[in-house]
């Protein structure tokens, strides 16, 4: 596709359930980022991949959150035992390569609502 694609666009789940959020980066982009945006806040960094490996996962809030990128393209953010406080928009971004001078392109996010 032409841009970063995130699916689903919206997800409603019950407290305690497991969810997976998917990100398809722009083809050829090696760097991939996940952010979480709570209501009324700016996006907060969760994790960043360079290729298949997680280069920095310091933003993951706890061990219920996990992300993978097994083939260096599509990434999945996994949340176990969801809590109401996990409700937010989860944004994914990709860059041609890592580095502060390379533009990051964002997807439209997945709005997760935990009820």
């Amino acid at each position: 596709g032409a841009g970063v694609s995130q699916t689903p666009s919206n997800k409603v789940t019950e407290k305690g359930k497991y969810v997976e959020l998917r990100c398809d980066p722009i083809s050829g982009h090696t760097a991939l980022y996940w952010y979480r945006q709570s209501l009324g806040q700016g996006p907060e960094f969760l994790i960043y991949f360079q290729g298949t490996g997680a280069a920095d996962d310091s933003g993951l809030p706890n061990d219920r959150f996990f992300a993978v990128r097994p083939e260096g393209s599509v990434s999945t953010l996994k949340i176990q035992r969801t809590e109401r406080g996990d409700s937010a928009v989860y944004l994914c971004a990709s860059s041609l390569q890592s580095g502060m001078n390379t533009e990051a392109f964002f997807g439209q996010g997945t709005r997760l609502t935990v009820v």
């Binding site: 009324g40 960094f45 920095d56 971004a93 533009e103 964002f106």
Partner: protein, 113 residues
């Protein structure tokens, strides 16, 4: 740790007028990039303009320009000839060698017809 502060939660401007959005940041690093992103209701972050810290000249992109004051750690965005399509959330952001983008809390911009 780096922080980005946007002190204006909301702003309004008359169509065709000029508006300035404020941003300050805190860092001990010498080389970094600063950005302004626009987030319309579609939720997709769109890059508006960026500035490298080592460049003294203020960046300009059509109707958008910045006032970068490195010593004061200030990075404001000026939108000239405001248009209805400029209405959105605007986020100031910082990025350095660790590659994370640090965002401010945003400013919601309203354009009054």
């Amino acid at each position: 740790a780096q922080t980005v502060t946007q002190s204006q939660p909301e702003m309004s401007v008359q169509e065709a007028e000029t508006v300035t959005l404020s941003c300050t940041y805190d860092t001990s690093e010498s080389d970094y990039y600063l950005f302004w992103y626009k987030q319309p209701p579609s939720r997709q972050m769109i890059l508006v303009i960026r500035q490298e810290a080592y460049k003294q000249q203020n960046a300009t992109e059509n109707r958008f320009s910045v006032n970068f004051q490195k010593a004061a750690k200030s990075f404001s965005l000026k939108i000239s000839d405001s248009q209805l399509g400029d209405a959105a959330m605007y986020f100031c952001a910082y990025r350095s060698l660790d590659d994370k983008i640090i965002f401010g809390k945003g400013t919601r911009l309203h354009i009054l017809p």
